[in-house]
């Protein structure tokens, strides 16, 4: 299958949460609230995903007023990946509604 591979749920929600700069714990809380407690992410899972996303340049670290807190935000590349994923999901839903 060509194009960008499908995002995992963890990566999808982290990217979605980082429209504005946010730090680790706030990302976890945001995802929990967004999914009505369905996804409660572990600290290790979040850390692993954040470091992988920084490496892929989907997110970047931004300066924070509080030096003890690292803030992350979605990059242009991250925006494109998320947009592509949303289109893919829309196609899935549309196909499901038409053919189910």
């Amino acid at each position: 299958m060509g194009g960008t591979p499908a995002l995992t749920e963890t990566v999808f929600y982290i990217l979605l949460s980082l429209k504005t700069p946010s730090h680790g714990y706030a990302i976890m809380q945001n995802i929990k609230a967004l999914t009505n407690d369905r996804i409660v992410m572990g600290a290790g899972t979040l850390y692993g995903a954040l470091s992988a996303l920084v490496e892929k340049e989907y997110i970047a670290e931004v300066k924070s007023d509080d030096p003890s807190k690292r803030l992350y935000v979605r990059t242009e590349r991250g925006n494109s990946v998320l947009e592509a994923e949303i289109l893919r999901l829309k196609e899935l839903i549309s196909n499901a509604e038409n053919y189910f």
Binding site: G24, Y47, S51
Partner: protein, 207 residues
């Protein structure tokens, strides 16, 4: 100041080590530091904490420390293992935070990091065993022959070079111990590999 205790313990298996630390927590001893084989604990309320371990990437060390600290974990540095750092993480037992790893991919990565650590240790102990055992293995047939046919000559050699004999014995025993350790590490490696296989097949269901 809280009462402190330090114990000398040796573990090959991380899961056994974790079992020991969590048993100490249940008895009211909270892990405060690990240096080589010395485990330090401080007096605390029984069952107040539990511990998990994690191999964090050295280059993202500060991201790791910040993320887990914000979630309420207390970090205990264990060992530096190449590009990873092994941390032990204490968390209050009544904490509302989720398990440390909540997705199959992270669990698989964690097992893979553990696997490469076990593999490295197993290879080191195997090489050590080979180096230590070789002189013994080469000379054992001659020693047996000597003991069988000329025991007086054997005792004469031993009494003339008691230091050499002790060293010979020491290296042979050391080599056997290293061989036993490497066999156990390889067994652990196989067990963890099987667990990784299970996780990969779990992941495939969702692909």
């Amino acid at each position: 100041m809280k009462e402190q205790k330090t114990f000398l313990k040796a573990f090959l298996d991380r899961n056994k080590e974790l079992e020991y630390i969590n048993k100490m927590h249940s008895m009211g001893w909270k892990l405060t530091s690990v240096r080589f084989a010395f485990y330090s604990f401080e007096k605390n309320t029984p069952n107040k904490y539990k511990t998990v371990f994690y191999y964090a990437e050295r280059i993202y060390q500060s991201t790791f420390i910040q993320t887990v600290t914000e979630c309420g974990y207390e970090i205990v540095h264990h060992t530096n293992e190449g590009k990873y750092i092994l941390y032990y993480l204490n968390i209050a037992s009544d904490s509302q935070v989720a398990d440390f790893l909540t997705d199959s991919e992270s669990k698989r990565n964690h097992i893979e990091r553990g696997l490469s650590s076990i593999k490295r240790d197993a290879l080191v102990s195997l090489i050590t065993a080979a180096i230590a055992i070789t002189p013994g293995a080469v000379t054992v047939p001659s020693i047996i022959k000597l003991l069988k046919y000329e025991p007086e000559k054997f005792y004469e050699i031993i009494s003339n070079d008691i230091l050499g004999a002790v060293l010979f014995l020491f290296f042979t025993i050391f080599g056997i111990v290293a061989a036993v350790i490497s066999i156990n590490l390889f067994r652990m490696y196989c067990r963890n590999k099987a667990r990784r296989k299970e996780l990969i097949s779990e992941m495939k269901i969702y692909e």
